[in-house]
């Protein structure tokens, strides 16, 4: 209710009021009232998407290109976004697609070690608590195949839920859980070296 009141009252960009709005309400504003409010969306997600793209691409310049393209494509397709869904998942999905296109374009190898495709052991999860993983993640993620590093990074670094990761990667939640578990095993192997 309060957000709706803010929505109605905003005619000119008011940054303090804007920051109280959810992403979805902000999208409605951009679509229906003032396209320049899109800068608030950029402000909210620029750093997050830069970090996300960096561990997908591992290249600063290309990551910036990917994020820029993400914001442009998101703006072009903003009317196609269903405000009943989570905007961040939608935006991350666009960023994922852009990053994958960039990876394909530059023939980046995404190696898969068949040894890692073994059932996850529950006790491995216990060996790593969240803080440890976050500390080690930055140094180890680059050495992991994207297939595993991406859901792991989304879960621990971007603090996305399994459902959000499922929406971003368009894979079942069970697969998200399996990949994260396998990524932990892989992470352990890499980080302990």
């Amino acid at each position: 209710m309060k957000e709706n009141a803010i929505l109605d009252s905003i005619t000119i960009c008011d940054m303090s009021e804007l920051s109280k709005l959810t992403d979805e309400k902000l999208v409605e504003l951009v679509r229906n009232k003032d396209r320049e409010l899109y800068s608030e969306i950029i402000r909210r997600y620029q750093d997050k998407l830069m970090r996300y793209s960096r561990y997908l691409i591992n290249d600063e310049d290309m990551s910036a290109d990917v994020v820029q393209e993400t914001f442009i494509k998101a703006y072009i397709n903003l009317n196609g976004f269903d405000v009943k869904k989570k905007f961040s998942s939608w935006l991350y999905r666009i960023s994922h697609n852009e990053a994958m296109n960039a990876v394909k374009k530059y023939h980046r190898e995404v190696p898969l070690d068949p040894d890692f495709d073994t059932p996850a052991k529950n006790n491995v999860e216990e060996e790593f608590d969240k803080k440890e993983i976050v500390q080690k993640a930055h140094s180890c993620l680059d050495q992991m195949p994207i297939l595993y590093s991406e859901p792991l990074a989304l879960y621990y670094l971007d603090e996305k839920s399994y459902e959000e990761i499922s929406d971003i990667l368009r894979i079942p939640m069970g697969t998200v859980a399996t990949r994260i578990n396998r990524a932990k095993i892989l992470m352990k192997k890499i980080c302990q070296k």
Partner: protein
């Protein structure tokens, strides 16, 4: 140890590696009108188009499964396989390949369109595919049971689709209209008549007690325009009598009996 991700070749950045410029560049392009939002109708039309496409290819797949079912029961291609190597060519010639290929293409396109919906990853996609295949096969089979194909066969412009091959260079299928010792007079559902001659070496997997009215298929070779020397003669399994099945609203076509 897995291979470490290779860094791609450097490409000149559009934003010259200044993160702070990134947002400005995007906003400038938006303000200048270089980048425009697509209208809502674009997405509504897209959704409708995909939905209609999905429904269309499923209907197409059902229809061609129905055609394939009809051809399988009227031509009975599997019956020729009783005759071993002699039956392979007739089987290949009478099997409804085209209908199956179109049905499979419809299913493949349908599945690829289904992937655009969230349900494709929120539910078991393999389960969805198997469910779709089961629905299409069942619906196609039920459609054939209604007798709708018999009605279509009567329409001139549908004849190409329902082209039936009861006579080939080394096979023939039809109904016995006269039975004598080692000789059968048969008529195909298309009205062609022929004499089938057989001897002690002829393969007779269902026996030699042929009677008028039996539906038979034979493999062998033509010794004249109307005489067929049988290497094998089989019985039953064919249901080409139009109108015999489907005694409801779709009953139609001439009755072969």
């Amino acid at each position: 140890m897995p291979e470490i991700n290779q860094k791609p070749k450097n490409k000149r950045s559009k934003v010259n590696n200044h993160k702070s410029d990134l947002g400005n560049v995007v906003m400038e392009r938006i303000k200048s009108g270089q980048v425009k939002m697509r209208p809502r109708i674009h997405f509504v039309a897209g959704s409708l188009f995909i939905g209609a496409g999905l429904a269309g290819v499923i209907v197409l797949a059902v229809f061609f499964v129905n055609v394939a079912s009809y051809k399988l029961r009227t031509l009975g291609p599997f019956g020729y396989l009783w005759f071993g190597e002699y039956g392979i060519r007739p089987f290949l010639a009478t099997f409804p390949w085209a209908a199956f290929v179109v049905a499979i293409c419809g299913l493949v396109i349908g599945i690829s369109l289904l992937r655009r919906y969230d349900i494709s990853y929120k539910k078991s996609f393999v389960g969805l595919i198997l469910g779709l295949i089961a629905v299409v096969l069942t619906a196609g089979w039920l459609m054939d049971l209604t007798g709708i194909n018999e009605r279509f066969v009567r329409f001139g412009h549908m004849r190409g689709l329902y082209q039936e091959q009861f006579v080939g260079s080394d096979w023939i299928a039809g109904e016995v209209i006269a039975a004598e010792s080692n000789q059968l007079q048969i008529e195909t559902p298309n009205g062609d008549q022929a004499t089938i001659e057989w001897n002690d070496r002829t393969l007779l997997p269902f026996g030699s007690d042929f009677k008028v009215g039996d539906k038979i298929r034979a493999v062998g070779k033509w010794s004249s325009d109307t005489t067929f020397e049988a290497v094998g003669i089989g019985r039953g399994g064919m249901h080409w009598q139009r109108g015999e099945r489907g005694n409801g609203m779709f009953r139609g076509g001439r009755d072969f009996n």
